[in-house]
Amino acid sequence: MAKIIINREKCKGCLLCVSFCPKSLIVADKDLNRRGLNPAKTKDSSGCTGCSMCAIICPECCIEVYK
Protein backbone atom coordinates (compact mmCIF):
# COMPACT_ATOMS: atom_id res chain seq x y z
CA MET A 1 0.00 0.00 0.00
CA ALA A 2 1.45 3.32 -1.10
CA LYS A 3 0.28 6.62 -2.49
CA ILE A 4 1.57 9.94 -3.73
CA ILE A 5 0.18 13.41 -3.14
CA ILE A 6 0.90 16.00 -5.84
CA ASN A 7 0.64 19.64 -4.86
CA ARG A 8 -1.20 20.83 -7.98
CA GLU A 9 -0.65 24.53 -7.29
CA LYS A 10 3.14 24.10 -7.07
CA CYS A 11 3.34 21.86 -10.12
CA LYS A 12 4.59 23.55 -13.32
CA GLY A 13 3.37 20.75 -15.54
CA CYS A 14 6.76 19.56 -16.84
CA LEU A 15 5.29 16.04 -16.63
CA LEU A 16 8.63 14.29 -16.08
CA CYS A 17 6.82 12.28 -13.39
CA VAL A 18 4.40 11.04 -16.04
CA SER A 19 7.32 9.73 -18.13
CA PHE A 20 9.14 8.07 -15.25
CA CYS A 21 6.33 6.41 -13.26
CA PRO A 22 7.03 2.72 -13.99
CA LYS A 23 3.32 1.94 -13.53
CA SER A 24 2.02 4.85 -15.65
CA LEU A 25 -0.19 6.06 -12.80
CA ILE A 26 0.25 9.80 -13.45
CA VAL A 27 -1.36 11.94 -16.17
CA ALA A 28 -1.71 15.63 -17.05
CA ASP A 29 -4.79 17.22 -15.50
CA LYS A 30 -7.08 18.81 -18.10
CA ASP A 31 -8.03 21.47 -15.54
CA LEU A 32 -5.56 24.31 -15.16
CA ASN A 33 -4.06 25.25 -11.81
CA ARG A 34 -3.90 28.87 -10.59
CA ARG A 35 -0.67 29.43 -12.53
CA GLY A 36 -2.58 28.53 -15.69
CA LEU A 37 -0.66 25.28 -16.21
CA ASN A 38 -1.87 21.71 -16.59
CA PRO A 39 -0.46 20.02 -13.49
CA ALA A 40 0.24 16.34 -13.01
CA LYS A 41 -2.38 14.26 -11.24
CA THR A 42 -2.70 10.62 -10.23
CA LYS A 43 -4.94 8.65 -12.53
CA ASP A 44 -5.22 5.75 -10.17
CA SER A 45 -3.09 5.08 -7.10
CA SER A 46 -4.08 1.47 -6.52
CA GLY A 47 -0.92 0.09 -8.20
CA CYS A 48 1.49 2.54 -6.51
CA THR A 49 4.48 0.78 -4.95
CA GLY A 50 6.00 3.87 -3.33
CA CYS A 51 9.11 3.59 -5.52
CA SER A 52 9.35 7.45 -5.45
CA MET A 53 10.65 7.75 -9.04
CA CYS A 54 8.18 10.60 -9.67
CA ALA A 55 9.28 12.52 -6.58
CA ILE A 56 12.98 11.99 -7.28
CA ILE A 57 12.75 13.51 -10.79
CA CYS A 58 10.32 16.33 -9.80
CA PRO A 59 12.10 19.71 -10.18
CA GLU A 60 9.50 21.45 -8.01
CA CYS A 61 9.68 19.03 -5.07
CA CYS A 62 5.86 18.99 -5.10
CA ILE A 63 5.26 15.25 -4.76
CA GLU A 64 5.05 13.54 -1.37
CA VAL A 65 5.20 9.76 -1.15
CA TYR A 66 3.49 7.67 1.56
CA LYS A 67 3.96 3.97 2.20
Partner: protein, 242 residues
Amino acid sequence: MKKIFSRPESLRDVPTHYCPGCGHGIAHRLLAQAVDDLGIREKVIGVAPVGCAVVAYDYWNFDCCEAAHGRALAVATAIKRVRPENIVFTYQGDGDLAAIGTNETIHTANRGENLTVIFINNAIYGMTGGQMAPTTLLGQKTATSPRGRNADSEGYPLKISELLAQLPAVKYIERVSLHSPQEVLKAQRAIKQAFQNQIENKGFSLVEILSPCPTYWGMSPDQAVEWVKETMSKEFPLGRIK
Protein backbone atom coordinates in the same frame (compact mmCIF):
# COMPACT_ATOMS: atom_id res chain seq x y z
CA MET B 1 0.95 5.11 5.96
CA LYS B 2 4.25 6.84 6.69
CA LYS B 3 5.66 9.72 4.68
CA ILE B 4 8.72 8.35 2.87
CA PHE B 5 9.54 11.27 0.57
CA SER B 6 9.10 14.96 1.31
CA ARG B 7 10.84 18.31 1.03
CA PRO B 8 14.20 18.57 2.85
CA GLU B 9 14.27 21.07 5.71
CA SER B 10 17.07 22.95 3.93
CA LEU B 11 14.81 23.68 0.93
CA ARG B 12 12.35 26.51 1.58
CA ASP B 13 8.73 25.86 0.77
CA VAL B 14 8.49 28.63 -1.85
CA PRO B 15 7.90 28.49 -5.61
CA THR B 16 11.05 28.83 -7.71
CA HIS B 17 11.30 31.00 -10.84
CA TYR B 18 12.80 28.17 -12.92
CA CYS B 19 11.17 27.06 -16.18
CA PRO B 20 9.15 23.81 -16.17
CA GLY B 21 11.50 20.83 -16.39
CA CYS B 22 14.66 22.82 -15.54
CA GLY B 23 17.39 20.83 -13.78
CA HIS B 24 18.19 23.63 -11.33
CA GLY B 25 15.16 22.66 -9.21
CA ILE B 26 16.32 19.05 -8.90
CA ALA B 27 19.90 20.10 -8.13
CA HIS B 28 18.69 22.52 -5.43
CA ARG B 29 16.78 19.72 -3.74
CA LEU B 30 19.73 17.30 -3.90
CA LEU B 31 22.00 19.86 -2.34
CA ALA B 32 19.46 20.61 0.41
CA GLN B 33 19.06 16.88 1.05
CA ALA B 34 22.84 16.43 1.41
CA VAL B 35 22.97 19.31 3.90
CA ASP B 36 20.15 17.73 5.92
CA ASP B 37 21.64 14.24 5.78
CA LEU B 38 25.03 15.47 7.01
CA GLY B 39 23.43 17.63 9.73
CA ILE B 40 25.34 20.75 8.64
CA ARG B 41 22.45 23.21 8.10
CA GLU B 42 23.73 25.49 10.89
CA LYS B 43 27.29 25.37 9.55
CA VAL B 44 26.93 25.59 5.81
CA ILE B 45 27.49 28.78 3.78
CA GLY B 46 26.51 28.74 0.11
CA VAL B 47 27.81 31.09 -2.56
CA ALA B 48 25.25 31.74 -5.30
CA PRO B 49 26.33 32.53 -8.88
CA VAL B 50 25.15 34.90 -11.57
CA GLY B 51 23.00 32.93 -13.97
CA CYS B 52 19.54 31.44 -13.66
CA ALA B 53 20.42 30.35 -10.10
CA VAL B 54 21.21 33.94 -9.07
CA VAL B 55 18.55 33.92 -6.33
CA ALA B 56 19.28 30.37 -5.11
CA TYR B 57 19.71 31.93 -1.65
CA ASP B 58 15.95 32.56 -1.60
CA TYR B 59 15.34 28.83 -1.99
CA TRP B 60 17.80 27.36 0.52
CA ASN B 61 17.11 27.50 4.20
CA PHE B 62 20.67 28.25 5.35
CA ASP B 63 23.21 31.07 5.12
CA CYS B 64 24.26 32.20 1.67
CA CYS B 65 26.24 34.92 -0.03
CA GLU B 66 26.03 36.22 -3.59
CA ALA B 67 29.11 36.67 -5.76
CA ALA B 68 29.70 38.74 -8.89
CA HIS B 69 29.58 36.76 -12.13
CA GLY B 70 32.32 34.09 -12.13
CA ARG B 71 33.78 35.13 -8.79
CA ALA B 72 32.04 32.59 -6.56
CA LEU B 73 35.21 30.62 -5.86
CA ALA B 74 37.17 33.75 -4.92
CA VAL B 75 34.40 34.70 -2.46
CA ALA B 76 34.20 31.12 -1.16
CA THR B 77 37.98 31.03 -0.64
CA ALA B 78 37.76 34.15 1.52
CA ILE B 79 34.82 32.84 3.57
CA LYS B 80 36.47 29.45 4.16
CA ARG B 81 39.83 30.97 5.14
CA VAL B 82 38.23 33.35 7.61
CA ARG B 83 35.75 30.78 8.94
CA PRO B 84 37.36 27.35 8.52
CA GLU B 85 34.79 25.81 10.88
CA ASN B 86 32.01 26.47 8.33
CA ILE B 87 31.21 24.25 5.36
CA VAL B 88 31.42 26.42 2.24
CA PHE B 89 30.17 25.58 -1.24
CA THR B 90 29.64 27.33 -4.55
CA TYR B 91 26.82 26.59 -6.99
CA GLN B 92 27.73 27.74 -10.51
CA GLY B 93 26.59 27.39 -14.10
CA ASP B 94 28.88 26.70 -17.04
CA GLY B 95 28.99 30.37 -18.02
CA ASP B 96 29.85 31.35 -14.47
CA LEU B 97 32.39 28.61 -13.75
CA ALA B 98 33.92 27.90 -17.18
CA ALA B 99 33.69 31.21 -19.09
CA ILE B 100 33.91 34.45 -17.09
CA GLY B 101 35.10 32.58 -13.97
CA THR B 102 37.69 30.25 -15.56
CA ASN B 103 40.52 32.13 -13.87
CA GLU B 104 39.02 31.82 -10.36
CA THR B 105 38.05 28.21 -10.98
CA ILE B 106 41.52 27.07 -12.06
CA HIS B 107 43.44 28.94 -9.38
CA THR B 108 41.10 27.96 -6.53
CA ALA B 109 41.40 24.32 -7.61
CA ASN B 110 45.16 24.65 -7.99
CA ARG B 111 45.44 26.00 -4.45
CA GLY B 112 43.44 23.00 -3.27
CA GLU B 113 41.05 25.13 -1.22
CA ASN B 114 38.92 22.91 1.01
CA LEU B 115 35.66 23.75 -0.79
CA THR B 116 32.72 21.98 -2.40
CA VAL B 117 31.74 23.03 -5.93
CA ILE B 118 28.40 22.20 -7.54
CA PHE B 119 28.82 22.87 -11.26
CA ILE B 120 25.62 22.93 -13.33
CA ASN B 121 26.49 22.19 -16.95
CA ASN B 122 23.50 22.91 -19.18
CA ALA B 123 25.60 23.70 -22.29
CA ILE B 124 24.11 27.19 -22.60
CA TYR B 125 23.69 30.60 -20.96
CA GLY B 126 20.15 30.35 -19.62
CA MET B 127 19.66 33.62 -17.79
CA THR B 128 20.67 35.92 -20.62
CA GLY B 129 18.66 34.22 -23.35
CA GLY B 130 20.36 31.08 -24.59
CA GLN B 131 23.77 32.19 -25.88
CA MET B 132 26.61 29.75 -26.61
CA ALA B 133 28.56 28.57 -23.56
CA PRO B 134 32.06 27.06 -23.46
CA THR B 135 30.30 23.71 -22.94
CA THR B 136 27.93 24.06 -25.93
CA LEU B 137 28.22 20.96 -28.13
CA LEU B 138 29.55 21.07 -31.69
CA GLY B 139 26.64 21.71 -34.03
CA GLN B 140 24.39 22.89 -31.19
CA LYS B 141 22.28 25.88 -32.21
CA THR B 142 22.15 28.78 -29.76
CA ALA B 143 21.32 32.49 -30.01
CA THR B 144 24.99 33.25 -30.79
CA SER B 145 25.67 30.12 -32.88
CA PRO B 146 22.53 30.07 -35.04
CA ARG B 147 24.12 27.67 -37.54
CA GLY B 148 25.46 25.44 -34.82
CA ARG B 149 28.76 25.62 -32.93
CA ASN B 150 31.68 25.27 -35.31
CA ALA B 151 35.03 24.06 -33.96
CA ASP B 152 37.00 26.16 -36.49
CA SER B 153 35.65 29.45 -35.22
CA GLU B 154 34.39 28.65 -31.70
CA GLY B 155 36.60 25.81 -30.52
CA TYR B 156 35.48 22.60 -28.86
CA PRO B 157 33.19 22.00 -25.87
CA LEU B 158 35.37 22.78 -22.86
CA LYS B 159 35.85 19.81 -20.54
CA ILE B 160 36.78 21.86 -17.54
CA SER B 161 36.34 18.92 -15.13
CA GLU B 162 38.94 16.87 -17.01
CA LEU B 163 41.28 19.89 -17.09
CA LEU B 164 40.91 20.45 -13.35
CA ALA B 165 41.55 16.78 -12.66
CA GLN B 166 45.14 17.32 -13.88
CA LEU B 167 45.88 19.60 -10.93
CA PRO B 168 47.65 17.82 -8.05
CA ALA B 169 45.74 19.70 -5.33
CA VAL B 170 42.32 18.60 -6.59
CA LYS B 171 40.91 15.74 -4.51
CA TYR B 172 37.59 14.71 -6.05
CA ILE B 173 35.75 15.29 -9.33
CA GLU B 174 32.70 13.38 -10.51
CA ARG B 175 30.34 14.01 -13.43
CA VAL B 176 26.70 13.06 -12.93
CA SER B 177 23.44 13.72 -14.75
CA LEU B 178 19.79 14.46 -14.04
CA HIS B 179 18.28 12.59 -16.97
CA SER B 180 16.47 9.87 -14.98
CA PRO B 181 15.56 9.10 -11.36
CA GLN B 182 18.42 6.55 -11.24
CA GLU B 183 20.95 9.18 -12.36
CA VAL B 184 19.47 11.71 -9.92
CA LEU B 185 20.18 9.25 -7.08
CA LYS B 186 23.80 8.94 -8.26
CA ALA B 187 24.04 12.72 -8.33
CA GLN B 188 22.74 12.82 -4.76
CA ARG B 189 25.50 10.43 -3.62
CA ALA B 190 28.19 12.48 -5.40
CA ILE B 191 27.02 15.75 -3.82
CA LYS B 192 27.05 14.17 -0.38
CA GLN B 193 30.57 12.83 -1.02
CA ALA B 194 31.79 16.28 -2.06
CA PHE B 195 30.53 17.72 1.25
CA GLN B 196 31.89 14.79 3.24
CA ASN B 197 35.35 15.47 1.76
CA GLN B 198 35.24 19.03 3.02
CA ILE B 199 34.09 17.92 6.48
CA GLU B 200 37.10 15.56 6.55
CA ASN B 201 39.43 18.38 5.38
CA LYS B 202 40.35 16.51 2.22
CA GLY B 203 40.34 19.52 -0.09
CA PHE B 204 38.86 20.71 -3.37
CA SER B 205 35.87 18.64 -4.52
CA LEU B 206 33.69 19.29 -7.55
CA VAL B 207 30.53 17.66 -8.88
CA GLU B 208 29.62 18.47 -12.47
CA ILE B 209 25.90 17.95 -13.10
CA LEU B 210 24.56 17.61 -16.66
CA SER B 211 21.30 19.51 -16.35
CA PRO B 212 18.46 20.10 -18.81
CA CYS B 213 17.53 23.60 -20.02
CA PRO B 214 14.41 22.78 -22.07
CA THR B 215 13.67 26.45 -22.76
CA TYR B 216 16.86 27.37 -24.59
CA TRP B 217 17.42 23.97 -26.10
CA GLY B 218 14.01 24.48 -27.72
CA MET B 219 12.74 21.16 -26.39
CA SER B 220 9.99 19.77 -24.20
CA PRO B 221 11.16 18.66 -20.72
CA ASP B 222 10.91 15.07 -21.95
CA GLN B 223 13.02 15.68 -25.05
CA ALA B 224 15.55 17.60 -22.96
CA VAL B 225 16.26 14.71 -20.56
CA GLU B 226 16.48 12.40 -23.58
CA TRP B 227 19.04 14.74 -25.19
CA VAL B 228 21.14 14.70 -22.00
CA LYS B 229 21.04 10.91 -22.02
CA GLU B 230 21.65 10.30 -25.72
CA THR B 231 23.80 13.24 -26.82
CA MET B 232 25.24 15.39 -24.05
CA SER B 233 26.50 12.52 -21.90
CA LYS B 234 28.38 11.15 -24.92
CA GLU B 235 30.42 14.37 -25.14
CA PHE B 236 30.67 14.64 -21.35
CA PRO B 237 31.04 11.05 -20.11
CA LEU B 238 29.56 10.31 -16.70
CA GLY B 239 31.44 8.93 -13.75
CA ARG B 240 34.33 9.58 -11.43
CA ILE B 241 37.01 11.71 -13.11
CA LYS B 242 39.30 11.94 -10.08
